[in-house]
């Protein structure tokens, strides 16, 4: 739960509230409500926590974060979490 997972913004929903992110090939919707003051653009990377984009990060840091999760033995759990975000049908 305290994991932060990096994802790349590949699409915005119409109301600007949700965006589709890609996390190692898996696409999921995340909520942008916490980045209203500093909205990401297409292809920006964000850190995702419990289904909400929490902060913007650089691509290099995003890749490093994925490596850290792998080293921590938590990338499987992270992917399970990403797959679990049930927001896609909205």
């Amino acid at each position: 739960m305290c994991l932060a997972i990096p994802g790349k913004i590949v699409n915005f929903a119409e109301d600007g509230r949700l965006a589709t992110v890609e996390v190692v090939g898996v696409r999921r919707k995340v909520d942008l409500g916490l980045l209203q003051e500093d909205m990401p653009k297409l292809n920006d990377w964000v850190l995702i926590h419990v289904g909400f984009a929490m902060s913007k990060i650089s691509e290099a840091d995003a890749l490093e974060q994925m490596r850290t999760l792998a080293l921590l033995g938590e990338s499987e759990q992270a992917m399970q979490e990403v797959r679990g975000y049930g927001l896609e049908e909205e």
Binding site: G33, L34, F52, R67, G84
Partner: protein
């Protein structure tokens, strides 16, 4: 330094470790607390203990939301779920945490409708697709997670979803640090500040630790190099006789925090006068409750909560371990009655709890060595 070679910055890590040795010298002992459970997990997994000189001791702090939740709160939440009408939704981390009559997972096995969600908005979605049921989201977490719960509650109101409520156990990190500093058996030299909590609250709320308590605090990322660099920054401050708040994790943590997140929290939550923390006791203004203006989405205002209070089993020393007074192995139950497979305390459940981290990395390693020796 056997772990070092698998890291990308292996050379830089070795150099930083040498710098730490040089700065730390040999004449005194240092006690630094890493506040965040994510750091605890990383420190064990990366074997940073083997990299650091012996006179630097890392004390594990209270920053694991699962670990600091008193058992009574779990009992309370599960008591509300006894109603067939209710769906109990919680993060996966909560599922194996023992309550008096079992964990949420064991309740599920006995027929309670318990669901794992990965996001509070998933719980809201459950309410949307189950209009004839009531979905209660059992919310835990520090300031990293609280804003997402807040936005979800705001959304429930905006969309007029009335079969949804939150059983709020959100806690705040600053009062916990204060309680630890006030505790007489605790002597600390400095803090490694939490990374993700700080993306929300920023670095200012730590200023009193430097100013009034004269202790350095360095907000740190979670990679091995981040943590080692934070330790260098702390040692440099101490050498210079300074105590400041510094930000090692600038690439993610803005000094001012995240205003949108703070606004959402302010809109939905207010401070509770006091809240019980496992191991730390009652701490004033250390947790969040839902404001009366959102009472309809507050499980505690909507339902009759039993208000269970349970003391932990006598032999379990979760409190002392949580405060950093005892090491996990010093608990009499560690590795015997209490293991990750059969956890008695929450510190053994979460991967961020120090008992589980210690068991998974140090204890298993030690067992493997003694097995291969005896073979």
């Amino acid at each position: 330094m056997k772990f070092v070679d698998e890291f990308r910055d292996a050379d830089l890590i070795k150099k930083t470790a040498e710098e730490i040795r040089r700065l730390a010298g040999t004449t005194r002992h240092y006690r630094f607390m890493e506040v965040c459970g994510g750091h605890t997990h990383a420190i064990y997994r990366f074997g940073l203990k083997d990299i650091l000189p012996e006179n630097i001791e890392l004390i594990h702090g209270p920053g694991c939301p699962v670990c600091v939740l008193p058992m009574g709160r779990i009992d309370d939440g599960l008591a509300l779920a006894a109603d067939d009408h209710v769906i109990f939704a919680a993060f996966g981390d909560m599922m194996r945490v023992p309550g008096t009559h079992g964990s949420p997972l064991e309740y599920k096995a006995r027929g309670t409708d318990v669901r794992i969600v990965y996001s509070p908005s998933d719980a809201l979605k459950l309410a949307r697709i189950n209009p004839d049921r009531h979905v209660m989201f059992f919310a835990i977490g520090f300031e990293t997670t609280a804003p997402s719960t807040a936005l979800t509650i705001m959304r429930a109101r905006a969309e007029g979803i009335h079969n949804f409520s939150v059983f709020c156990n959100h806690v705040t990190i600053i009062p916990a640090i204060r309680a630890i500093l006030d505790s007489p058996d605790m002597r600390l030299d400095a803090f490694i500040g939490p990374g993700h909590v700080s993306t929300v609250i920023g670095c200012r709320p730590y200023e009193w630790i430097a100013k009034d308590e004269r202790k350095p605090i360095v907000v740190s990322g979670f990679e091995p190099l981040d943590i080692l660099q934070a330790i260098v920054m702390i040692l440099r401050q101490m050498r210079a006789g300074e105590a400041k708040v510094e930000n090692q994790y600038k690439r993610v943590v803005p000094w001012e925090g995240n205003r949108a997140a703070l606004r959402a929290m302010g809109e939905v939550f207010q401070l509770r006068p006091y809240f019980e923390w496992r191991g730390l006791g009652f701490i004033s203004q250390s947790a969040l409750r839902i404001r009366d203006s959102y009472a309809e989405w507050d499980a505690e205002q909507r339902f009759q909560v039993p208000g269970v209070r349970v003391t932990d089993p006598k032999a379990a020393q979760c409190g002392e371990v949580l405060k950093g007074v005892l090491k996990p192995v010093q608990c009499k139950l560690f590795g015997k009655e209490c293991t990750p497979e059969h956890p008695l305390g929450a510190l053994m459940v979460s991967s961020e709890g120090s008992c589980a981290a210690y068991f998974n990395y140090e204890h298993r390693k030690a067992m493997a060595t003694s097995l291969s020796r005896s073979a």
